[in-house]
């Protein structure tokens, strides 16, 4: 039984999902048989250990396993679908509470337990990003869903409880806090500047000859070297370590083409854009592993997640999002988990980052890439 509760002071919603405490820790007891882990619920042959598929990409007839990507409901959902539908929050004195409503899905990225995300062939990653997009579009047809949060946990330090490569998505009937702050900030910027702040950040980061002035109109002394924080770029995307990175080696993957909504990604069969996203993701994760090989001999634990616009069809859209199409800009963020948040971060919500993004981006740029054989 899942319940949303609102903090009476900050107004933030928390998800109380007592059932999830029971989920098993599969890391402890992996029994391998060749490429297949007998005890892994995501490995071929164990398809009956997950709930019924929402979406499956089949292999060609007669092949084994029968699938390439499976999307299934999470067996231990954080936000279980409730048949009766979404209800308005109830007051309990100072407190507000709302019955859980939403979906929690797992995207099993491939049948191969031991092939991580970044070692998949480009064509397979293209298919995966198409499935990400289709799930968002499909879920946004439900006017009881306000926001999809799509994310990946890689490694135990990043919160993964199953090592078989998989991504997840959770839907919410509200815009979660970090995204709300971005939306508000972007809207305020658009109101003032009549342009998208991500487009302008890309302009500044990618500039070839940009003059910068301080508040009095004087040209400032400090000038960043060219593309100092850029890790990699291709035709469609830029991967950079943001100026105010909260974590060492934090990277944002930003599309050059302005769009508020991930559902517009690769539209009109723009396979070049899909390929560009697959390539830049594969490249920067490989670079991350290479750059930190001395500290993480296997692979760097990380989370990635999507920031895309809320569902404009949500039934109780009180805020109008009139300019959302122009002011928001979908993107992915990659947060390597190389440090532990401590009391300062917990107590302040501010972050101490011990690796400047200019240092991180240089190390990542300089990390050599090996050509991996396709599988």
């Amino acid at each position: 039984m899942t319940e949303f509760r609102r903090d009476p002071i900050t107004g933030k919603w928390v998800i109380i999902a007592a059932g999830r405490a029971k989920r098993p820790d599969y890391f402890k007891k992996e029994q391998k048989q060749g490429d297949v882990v007998v005890s892994c619920p995501f490995c071929p042959g164990n398809e009956d250990k997950t709930p019924k598929e929402i979406r499956v990409d089949p292999m060609e007839a007669g092949q084994n396993p029968y699938w390439r990507i499976r999307v299934v409901p999470n067996l231990y959902p954080a936000a279980g679908i409730i048949k009766e539908g979404l209800e308005r929050p109830q007051k309990l004195g100072l407190y507000s509470t709302m019955k859980g409503y939403g979906a929690h899905e797992v995207i099993i990225e491939s049948p191969h337990h031991n092939i991580p995300f970044e070692d998949q062939p480009i064509e397979h990653l293209m298919l995966l990003f198409m499935r990400f997009k289709e799930r968002v579009i499909d879920l946004y047809k439900d006017d009881q869903i306000k926001q999809v949060v799509l994310y990946k946990n890689h490694g135990r330090e990043a919160g993964a409880s199953i090592s078989h490569p998989h991504s997840q998505l959770i839907t919410l009937p509200f815009v979660p806090d970090d995204l709300k702050e971005e939306l508000n900030g972007a809207r305020a910027y658009y109101a003032k500047e009549k342009s998208c702040i991500w487009c302008d950040i890309l302009m500044q980061e990618m500039r070839t000859n940009l003059q910068i002035f301080d508040e009095t109109g004087t040209s400032i002394v400090r000038a960043d070297p060219l593309k100092e924080r850029v890790v990699f770029e291709n035709r469609g995307f830029v991967a950079l370590c943001p100026f105010a990175s909260k974590f060492p080696y934090e990277m944002h993957i930003i599309p050059k083409r302005h769009s508020h909504y991930f559902g517009n990604f690769g539209e009109k069969e723009n396979f070049q854009e899909i390929k560009d996203l697959a390539e830049i993701f594969k490249t920067v994760i490989k670079k991350l592993n290479k750059a930190l090989l001395g500290i993480y001999p296997e692979s760097v634990p990380y989370n990635f997640f999507l920031h895309t616009s809320p569902n404009l069809k949500f039934r109780w859209n009180e805020d109008k999002f009139k300019t959302l199409e122009f002011d928001f800009h979908w993107h992915f963020e990659i947060h390597p988990r190389t440090s532990i948040e401590a009391g300062f971060e917990k107590g302040s919500g501010s972050y101490i980052n011990v690796v400047a993004p200019e240092i991180a981006s240089k190390e990542l740029r300089d990390a050599p890439l090996e050509i991996q054989p396709s599988v």
Copy 2:
């Protein structure tokens, strides 16, 4: 060299502190000699391994070691004092940056490497909380300091890099995000209700016979059992698991006496109030360890931190905090680190809590306390 950088989208400040990456991990190489760990910079005999003391509580003359509590600057500061003083933020195109200014201090809680916080005698904890308070008062004399963040990391999972019991404080020239949200929420509540929201939360949580109505004026069906979320209380304080707890076993310690500022705590030599705080802290940490003994045989990793008002004497107080004295209410929060934040939390800023606060508070209430011999 420390630098504050503002995120151009959300407006949040991040601390870039490259020097801290070099700090050693003392956990790995502890060499014990009785009660003293040779390699520990906080153990007696190693006083020269820390910078010069800011404050020291001496033992009686001739005793060894010569001190009971030491306050020293952090050797690897997140916010190093800069002689020239605080400067206004500089613009760099879309970005804002500010030179580091502030203090980062370590409070070495006792000479005993192996006596954790909660096993200290009440009288020693009273002295410790008095030192916490005095450091806050002393630092707020500097009009270049806007906010003190006082916190403790216990255990590696909570971010501690030295196991010798210690607390820390960092000062900032801005109000950090989580505290700003609390201040804004509390101010909005006060503007509407003309009362402090923490006082009203205590009223609701401690009620003996409170009727609750929904928005239409109908008495609601659901009524919480009496003091359902309260873990412990004494004359001066209440420890409770908040209604919208973000983490399993999260506890807030809230003074019953309204005050916005921790500097007012125990004023006019109110030793009862100081003793009450020491007692409730000792009690609930012991209960936490007892309740989770099966999972953490040694002790539960946790952070605690203080939320107190910003410095009203700050030189650039743009926001006026006119009602701060009435609307804010200082308190401590304890965040046990029993789970790892994963991609959902990173990507949304929302939290999934797998242990309902009503369950957590019951387990903590029911955890028996042993009487520990004083040291």
